[in-house]
């Protein structure tokens, strides 16, 4: 346990319109499960831990899965504090969800801490695969890529929580983008309580320089 506690910690936030599949993506990534029937909307925010090594350096990921529903928006600003990375998720089979991304990016830019990185994910890739699937695609990969570039994200990936395709790669790429320039990595602490304290201080000094 000690080794886990002392790992550098990254807080990563997942945002995006309601029903874009953020929770499914997270459950696939952390528990490698997918529930076909599940359609309950997230309330407030959900939270998961995951360990990930990038270039031989293990990190502890604090993954925050936020509610996409409008009524929880008042809550959302508080999540950005200390977040090193923000994963924005949209549904490639829904034009509406893609169109709203502009607004999500704006919210993200105005709330995120200096030095935090954004990453764009187009979810539900499985829907457009297989016979006649392409017809269900409402957002082309190119459009997604252009959006990501325009907002200066550290990457873009289309993936599927159902099949698992691209999920790991997306998270890994995002984390790599965060740690590349030493960004907002919070050092691990020893005891409880002190973890977050030490973390925040680290983040602050990171900002200053």
């Amino acid at each position: 346990m000690a080794s886990d506690e002392s790992l550098p910690t990254l807080k990563i936030l997942m945002i995006g319109p309601s029903g874009s599949g953020k929770s499914a993506l997270l459950i696939r990534y952390c528990d490698n499960q997918f529930d076909n029937e599940s359609s309950t909307a997230t309330i407030g925010v959900d939270f998961k831990l995951k360990r990930l090594s990038v270039h031989g350096q293990p990190y502890r990921l604090n993954l925050l899965d936020t509610a996409g529903q409008e009524r929880f928006r008042t809550l959302s600003t508080s999540y950005y504090r200390g977040a090193a990375g923000i994963i924005l998720v949209y549904d490639i089979s829904s034009r509406e969800s893609f169109n709203s991304m502009e607004r999500w990016f704006e919210e993200c830019e105005s709330n995120m801490m200096e030095g935090a990185k954004m990453y764009l994910v187009g979810g539900k890739l499985d829907k457009v695969q297989g016979a006649g699937g392409e017809a269900k695609r409402k957002v082309s990969e190119e459009e997604g890529r252009r959006l990501a570039e325009r907002w200066g994200t550290v990457g873009f990936m289309e993936c599927s929580a159902k099949t698992g395709e691209g999920v790991k790669a997306a998270f890994a790429e995002c984390v790599e983008g965060i740690v590349k320039d030493g960004g907002l990595v919070a050092a691990g602490g020893r005891g409880r309580g002190t973890v977050s304290v030490a973390g925040a201080e680290e983040v602050d000094s990171g900002c200053a320089c």
Partner: protein
């Protein structure tokens, strides 16, 4: 998931997803979010030049209303009255003070702490409402092993005496205005259940922060539940936890087994950081049934299923160690042992439990989720350290702080003799005849009084000095969690209030937030200007109350050698800081010496949540007797004619004699004890 919900065994009590529909869970989340927003606003208000206490209390004052209104342009009122100009100047001064880097730093630190706490709560709540699966698994698991009696308990939802109690306290609602929520329309039983669930959930963060306590008060008020329900549940949960912890430590091998269990993520996420949010993953059905039995037996009556209770409690339900930490088992105990640790700095410093015996730890049934420390300011006999605090009720663990007995005794006896002196009697008449008390501040004290002043001046400055030091020690004890992870309420009068002042300043300096719940300062010999009060406000999550009396001449007299230009909190309102309650007790407190006997009555007036009414009545009786006696003595003195010089000499002798007597008494007691 929907199908799973249908399969759920019904006989296992309720978890959040069964007592609350999805929609209601959403409401709950939003309620918590809104309340924490309100709380945050209160914190920022403390550091806002536009918010003052005065505005709150006198909304009818047109001047203040203008300040209240953001649409009114201050600059447009250039030709306002003198009063307006003064107000503007004051406002500018506040703005200047507030922009000082030190204040800004404190504000930032306070907000940072609060945000972290809030994040912990919201994440924890999110985890509970968003993972019904985990709880379900746990329930299934538990249904196999849970002790039968716990099940029985959970089914009989006994909520005691809820028939003839008013729906909500007016006091609670004024102090913590309810946030509107649809949850209010739930049946009463369900609201109580919900409140209890929230208490457990907040405890699962492994500390009962003072902010958490305030959040619960807000929730109670929003759910229109009276305060005593929360208080009763706190008591029950404390008992339940300790009982459970006992069983936990008794079954070490079971714990060992669960350690070996590969599914146990307990040690992996263990006592993890992120404000306890990480703790949750673990509850997935593992040690829960064991503890659930214990907790369920005790807390079943509240109506929450045993396993649900355990699930909400997270790691707290699994580890006696964590429960121990909550009650301060490791942080240094709230008993005599602390002395040794701090002996070098302060001569005499100990926490005396009021309930139970002096010589051993408080019994488990006396343990509470909160604690209150009463700090006496001056004493005439050793018992005075404890007596004033008898008026405090049983909803929190009450301790009296014993500090600097000798200095306090000296101060007490010398103050008493000065007040009883003929010189003071003459001076008092003179003071009252002058209408402006303020002139006293500037050294226009009657000559006769100044002549006897040496009797009391020295003990006072010695005690003040010691109080400042002991305050640092108290701050240190709190930071080191002598109280465990529980919120503390501090109450002190006279120099005891000075001690608290010093303690709070030190806490603010050391950025120790979330430790102190309420603070009540009575007749405090400390500055009344805003900077220190802002700092104090930042470390007090609940109520910060300044009890003052405009008739406390002796305080003004004693304090004259200190920084009188900054005012004296015990004599006046604190006007410039928002969130400070000023209670005027001028009609009750005719002099500094009264304070000790009025603690209960004052607390009653304040609307303190937890007082022992019979003790208050007894206090009042004592006071009445004393007043009679004083009158008699005064009459006697009127006849005698001695010069102030002679009187001073006599008094000095008298003081020495009395102090010696008390100290001898104490020594004798010690001998007898050992």
């Amino acid at each position: 998931m929907a199908s799973e919900k249908g399969n759920k065994p019904k006989n296992n009590g309720d978890d959040l997803s069964t007592i609350l529909s999805h929609e209601e869970q959403v409401e709950l989340t939003l309620l918590i979010a809104n309340i924490t927003e309100v709380m945050r606003k209160q914190i920022t208000d403390t550091f806002d030049a536009d918010s003052t206490t005065k505005k709150d209390q006198e909304p009818k004052n047109p001047l203040q209303e203008k300040e209240n209104n953001p649409n009114v342009d201050d600059a447009g009122e250039a030709e306002g009255t003198v009063e307006e100009k003064d107000a503007r100047e004051l406002r500018e001064k506040r703005a200047r003070d507030l922009s000082a880097p030190k204040m800004q730093d404190l504000k930032k630190a306070t907000e940072e702490y609060f945000d972290k706490w809030r994040e912990g709560i919201i994440l924890r709540l999110g985890e509970v409402v968003n993972s019904p699966k985990k709880l379900e698994e746990q329930i299934e698991h538990a249904s196999i092993e849970a002790t039968p009696d716990s099940e029985k308990e959970t089914q009989t939802k006994v909520i005691t005496s809820n028939t003839n109690i008013e729906e909500a306290d007016a006091a609670l609602i004024t102090l913590y205005p309810p946030t509107s929520t649809a949850l209010y329309s739930l049946p009463r039983d369900k609201r109580i259940l919900l409140l209890n669930a929230m208490l457990l959930l907040l405890l699962s963060l492994e500390r009962y922060s003072s902010y958490s306590r305030i959040l619960l008060l807000h929730i109670s008020s929003s759910l229109h539940l009276p305060l005593h329900i929360l208080a009763e549940q706190e008591v029950k949960v404390a008992q339940g936890l300790l009982e459970a912890a006992k069983q936990m430590s008794g079954k070490e091998e079971t714990e060992k087994r669960s350690d070996e269990n590969k599914n146990s993520r307990r040690w992996k996420v263990g006592l993890a950081g992120v404000a306890g949010a990480a703790v949750i993953g673990i509850t997935g059905g593992l040690a829960a049934p064991l503890v659930a039995g214990a907790i369920g037996t005790i807390m079943g009556g509240i109506g929450l299923g045993a396993t649900t209770a355990a699930g909400l409690l997270g790691a707290l339900a699994e580890s006696g160690v964590i429960v121990g930490a909550l009650f301060g088992a490791y942080g240094g105990r709230m008993t005599g042992k602390m002395i040794d640790q701090y002996a070098k700095e302060v001569d005499d410093f100990a926490f005396l439990p009021l309930k139970g015996s002096k010589n051993h730890e408080p019994l488990p049934e006396d343990r509470r989720l909160r604690l209150t420390i009463g700090i006496s300011g001056w004493i005439t006999q050793t018992e005075d350290i404890i007596t004033p605090w008898r008026a405090l009720g049983r909803q929190s663990e009450v301790f009296a702080l014993r500090w600097e007995l000798e200095a306090l005794t000296k101060l007490g006896t010398s103050m008493e003799s000065v007040v009883k002196s003929a010189a003071w009697g003459v001076a008092k008449k003179e003071i009252i005849s002058r209408t402006i008390f303020a002139s006293l501040m500037t050294a226009l004290w009657p000559i006769g009084l100044l002549k006897v002043s040496k009797v009391v001046d020295n003990p006072f400055s010695v005690t003040m000095n010691r109080a400042d030091k002991a305050g640092l020690v108290l701050a240190d004890a709190l930071i080191n969690k002598a109280q465990g992870e529980r919120p503390v309420t501090l109450i002190g009068y006279s120099v005891g209030a000075r001690l608290i002042y010093s303690c709070l300043m030190s806490l603010a300096e050391r950025r120790a937030f979330g430790l102190v719940e309420n603070v009540i300062l009575m007749g405090a010999p400390c500055p009344s200007d805003d900077a220190p009060w802002r700092a104090m406000r930042s470390v007090v999550a609940g109520r910060l109350i300044n009890v003052y009396s405009e008739n406390d001449y002796i305080l003004g007299f004693l304090y004259r050698t200190f920084n009188i230009q900054y005012g004296v909190a015990g004599l006046q309102e604190i006007e410039q800081v928002k969130g400070i309650e000023n209670i005027n007790v001028s009609d009750m407190v005719s002099g500094h010496l009264r304070l000790q006997y009025l603690v209960g009555s004052i607390l009653e007036k304040i609307g303190f949540e937890d007082i022992d009414v019979s003790e208050v009545a007894r206090e009042e009786e004592t006071l009445a007797l004393m007043e009679e006696e004083e009158k008699r003595e005064e009459n006697k003195k009127d006849g005698s004619n001695i010069t102030p010089e002679e009187e001073a000499k006599e008094m000095e002798k008298d003081v020495k004699h009395k102090t010696d007597q008390t100290m001898m008494q104490k020594a004798a007691e010690k001998l007898r004890l050992s």
